[in-house]
Amino acid sequence: MGKHVLLVEDEINIIEAIQFLLSREGWQVDTHSDGATAVEKVRSMRPDLVVLDYMLPGKNGIDILTELRADPDFHRLPVLMLTARGQSRDRDLAERAGVSRFMTKPFSNTEVVTAVRDLVQLAQ
């Protein structure tokens, strides 16, 4: 246990909520709120899973994911993407970029926690 999760999100209240939910499950949660430097953060931190927001300052979630998938190290890294833009086109874009799971905000706490748990187990 003691899995390492990186949360890339720029809304403080949402960071707070997700951090609360995942920490309670026993995972170590790090946060990062800048899109432009998110890929470097993943490289240095090497988390077991990334929770990625779609709209971020600097660089959007799709671009970050594409860049990660181009790196063989993160080819199989579980990525859960969250978005507040309720457009179906975004889901297609994300799936094409190689997302592991795609969820629309507002989410149910249970769903997020279950999704993270499933993804981590799947990756093992």
Binding site: N13, A17, L21, Q87, T104, N109
Partner: protein
């Protein structure tokens, strides 16, 4: 007795001799020493191809059967030649001026270069001349058969002989006529050869005649007595036949394709006509001089039942004059060959130029390689046409049974080609003649000819059944081929002549009167009818005076009054003249032609200017008529152009509208995405924390309070967002009603500062000097205050200076007051300066509490109030400037 083999040998030597003459003539012509080739004498002799084997043999037969009537065949052409000044001269002049290569070419040129007419004339000519060719085959065959001993008559049947004669003639013609191809369609070698043949046939006939009169009858006196006592002496004149046949032979003389070839196409100098006008009738007179004596003697000394068509041969033979008979044979042979050569040449030119070449060229159109092999195709087409035409002649000979008298067959042909005459003469004397008139006349005349003359010539039950002869087509009595419209009791030949030419002319005139000539037809018509009015010299433009007024009038009709006037005035100015009429210099005429060409096409423009300047066969009225028509066409095409311009404009507008809609739709998608994001983000926090509060029992009180206040804060954020969105939508749709009131600017600023500063948490210091410029305002004070509050709260949120400060100044700019909100934060980058006023744009939004709608709302409000809001970077921060309009402008809102 001379054997057939000897005859063939003599013929071959004779042909070789003709070839040699033709060869040397052509070589001389190539070297440019062709003067003697083109003398009036040669021209006159070449006209003698009118006298074919029909004349040579048939005239005697005709005389033996019908007395003096054979003279009509000579009378018609003689009248035409003697009256040459009237018709022939004009025909030759036009033919040369238009470079006509055939009758078909001439008729088509007259009626606006109609290819349809050319094809019709060509087909009619081929059909019309076919019996004539058959006639030549028949006469040569007959003449050869005289020499073959009927007792030891070998297996060579008459039709086989005819086939070989036809074959020989075809080879002869191909070798003679298509050895090379001249651009002007002239054949020096052929012309000189037929001139020689003309001499041979004249000498042969004279020799036989002299022998008959002095050798047999014993002088002129005894000859006259024998004539008086013979059946021919009792001959009486049939007036209607005389008139009809004379007219017919005159018509055929003008309209026969082979006559056109030698008379017009091969004509070197118009003055030759003048000499031919008496020399050719003289030739015809000599040809006819001994016809009656030979006929009388033939009837006298030969057994009853001998073919009178062959008296010219059989009389010398009966008297044991083998040499004279051979000469006579050569005369007949000459008549037949010269006719076949020239007739098939003329026809093959028509067939290849008007039928084969157009088809070949259109078939080649996609190949695009129209190179030197056109020449080969033309020669091939001509040769094939020659073979085909002679084959048709042979076929006619076989089908008609070869039995009819020579003269009868010749007359059928004459009636056929005479159908061209109305269109030809109408075309050169009557301006009103039109293409459709010509076509109608030709077709009607041709159909009547086929029905009344050609088909009956095969005899009853050959093509037309005997019942048709007796009862008409489908039992309609008025459709009998030899009693059309119930007119009975007329000689069949006269019947065919009268009906075909009358109906032809009626159709020609009537249709011409009801149809309207096209511009080109009108121009060509004028060229033909007035051919003598225009000079034959090469026309230089500056040689003849053109009046500027005429040019001006024409230019106005084509270019329109304004354009024409400005063109002329500019030229006059350039020439240093006052007014608008420049001198018609060469340069100006070229300019004018270019201008006109843009409207009516270069050919027409050139024709019009040269006609007007060169003074001319085409009257100014004609030109104006054409100009008017062109102008109408032009106007019509202008209207079309305008229409298509309008259409393309509409299409462009549609395209633009579509692009705008697409852009709008993209914007709308982006906007909905933004709104969705702005609404869902606070809702996410609310949902997540409310679930935490609901589902987690072991929360501490401090945590519960914290989460509840987050939910509370996000709810307020949502509410504000919704308020802003509604506000913006109302403002953007222009549905907002302004609440006009009069107040004090300083009071409004003060209230705004108070409302914004209500939040004690802010560190921003707001400086506002009350003593500044102040004046009463009449505007929506609440909305203005909303703008001010927005600007102050923005400064509170975004001013990142260690000691954030906002100074509010009022500046008078003459055209209105500026309220400047000057903060000391980091200046907004220049590329974002217009962006910040767009919806959902957030620069450096740290806590993410704003939806990015504030400045957009401010801009909308100021627009509604008749002012504006702008941003200016300052050295020490940012300045947002609210432009208040002058009082008048405000009041006007």
């Amino acid at each position: 007795m001379i054997s057939v083999n000897q005859l063939v040998a003599v013929s071959l030597v004779y042909v070789a001799f003709l070839f040699a003459i033709a060869f040397f003539a052509e070589r001389a012509s190539v070297r440019g020493r062709s003067g003697w080739l083109r003398s009036p004498l040669v021209y006159t002799l070449s006209l003698s191809i009118y006298c074919t084997a029909w004349t040579f043999y048939g005239a005697v037969g005709y005389a033996a059967r019908s007395g003096m009537e054979f003279v009509t065949i000579y009378l018609g052409p003689s009248l035409v030649m003697i009256g040459w000044w009237w018709v022939l001269r004009k025909l030759v002049r036009i033919g040369r001026a238009q470079r006509a290569t055939s009758v078909a070419d001439l008729i088509s040129a007259r009626y606006g270069k109609s290819n349809l007419l050319a094809i019709v004339v060509t087909l009619m000519a081929v059909v019309g001349v076919t019996p004539y060719i058959a006639l030549q085959l028949q006469s040569v065959t007959l003449s050869v058969s005289i020499f073959s001993d009927p007792v030891q008559s070998d297996g060579l049947s008459q039709s086989t002989a005819t086939f070989w004669v036809a074959f020989g003639l075809a080879i002869f013609t191909v070798l003679f006529g298509t050895r090379n191809l001249n651009a002007n369609e002239r054949h020096d070698g052929v012309v000189i050869a037929i001139a020689v043949e003309a001499v041979v046939k004249l000498i042969a006939l004279l020799a036989v005649g002299i022998f008959v009169v002095w050798g047999i009858a014993g002088g002129i006196g005894p000859m006259m007595d024998r004539i008086d006592s013979s059946p021919i002496g009792e001959w009486s004149m049939d007036r209607s036949r005389w008139v009809a046949l004379t007219a017919l032979s005159a018509a055929a003389f003008l309209a026969l394709p082979r006559m056109f070839q030698v008379m017009v196409v091969e004509n070197e100098d118009e003055r030759h006509l003048q000499i031919a006008s008496w020399a050719f009738p003289l030739y015809l007179m000599l040809m006819s001089l001994f016809v009656v004596p030979i006929a009388v003697i033939g009837l006298d000394i030969l057994p009853a039942g001998s073919n009178p068509d062959l008296f010219v041969l059989t009389v010398p033979l009966a008297e044991g004059q083998g040499g004279l008979a051979t000469l006579s044979f050569l005369g007949g042979f000459s008549s037949a060959t010269s006719m076949v050569i020239v007739a098939t040449l003329a026809l093959s030119t028509m067939v290849s130029n008007h039928i084969v070449m157009p088809i070949w060229l259109s078939a080649q159109a996609e190949g695009a390689q129209v190179s030197g092999d056109v020449r080969n195709v033309v020669i091939l087409a001509r040769r094939a046409s020659i073979l085909m035409i002679i084959f048709f002649g042979y076929l006619y000979y076989r089908l008609s049974g070869g039995g009819a008298a020579l003269a009868a067959i010749g007359l059928i042909s004459f009636v056929g080609v005479a159908q061209f005459l109305p269109a030809m003469l109408g075309g050169i004397f009557w301006r009103g003649a039109t293409r459709w008139g010509a076509l109608a006349g030709l077709v009607v005349g041709f159909v009547v000819w086929v029905f009344c003359s050609l088909l009956p010539s095969f005899g009853p039950d050959a093509v037309l059944s005997a019942t048709v002869f007796d009862n008409g087509i489908a039992g309609m009595g008025w459709l009998r081929p030899q009693a059309l419209f119930g007119v009975e009791g007329i000689d069949p030949t006269v019947h065919a002549i009268v009906w075909s030419l009358t109906l032809n002319m009626v159709a020609f005139v009537c249709v011409s009167l009801v149809t309207f000539p096209q511009p080109l037809e009108r121009l060509q018509g004028a060229q033909f009818v007035n051919v003598f009015d225009h000079s034959t010299q090469a026309r230089g433009w500056d040689a003849a005076p053109a009046t500027s007024e005429d040019l001006m009038v024409m230019a106005q009709r084509i270019l329109g009054p304004t354009d024409a006037l400005s063109l002329f005035r500019a030229e006059a100015q350039r020439q240093g003249l006052s007014g608008h009429l420049p001198e018609p210099t060469q340069g100006f005429l070229q300019t004018l032609e270019r201008e006109l060409a843009g409207s009516v096409g270069s050919a027409t423009a050139h024709a019009m200017i040269s006609q007007l300047v060169g003074g001319a066969s085409v009257s100014v009225e004609d030109l104006m008529a054409v100009a008017d028509e062109s102008a109408q066409i032009l106007e019509y095409s202008n209207r079309l152009e305008a229409k298509s311009a309008e259409l393309s404009r509409t299409a462009r507008q549609l395209r633009e509208a579509n692009e705008k809609l697409t852009a709008l739709s993209v914007q709308k998608d982006a906007f909905l995405g933004q709104i969705s994001h702005e609404l869902r983000t606070p809702m996410t926090s609310i949902r997540s924390f409310s679930e935490i509060l609901r589902d987690t029992d072991e929360l501490e009180q401090a945590e519960k309070t914290k989460y509840a206040s987050i939910i509370h804060g996000e709810t307020i954020r949502l509410t504000r967002l919704l308020d802003d969105l509604l506000d913006l939508s109302v403002l953007e749709n222009g549905q907002v009603s302004l609440n006009l009131d009069t107040g004090n600017l300083n009071d409004v600023i003060g209230q705004a500062v108070l409302s914004a500063g209500g939040d004690r948490s802010t560190r921003l210091t707001v400086r506002h000097e009350q003593a500044q410029i102040d004046r009463p305002l009449t505007t929506d004070l609440d909305r203005l205050r909303q703008v001010f509050i927005n600007l102050i709260t923005n400064a509170q949120k975004y001013c990142d200076a260690p000691r954030p400060e906002l100074r509010i100044d009022v500046v008078d700019h003459g055209d209105g007051l500026h309220v400047v909100f000057h903060d000391n934060g980091t200046p907004i980058p220049s590329e974002s300066r217009t962006l910040i006023f767009e919806k959902f744009s957030r620069i450096n939004d740290k806590d993410g509490s704003g939806a990015g709608l504030g400045l957009a709302i401010c801009r909308e409000i100021m627009a509604r109030l008749g002012g504006d809001i702008t941003h200016e970077p300052r050295a020490d921060g940012n300045a947002f400037i609210v432009h208040l309009p002058a009082q008048a402008a405000l009041a006007a809102q």
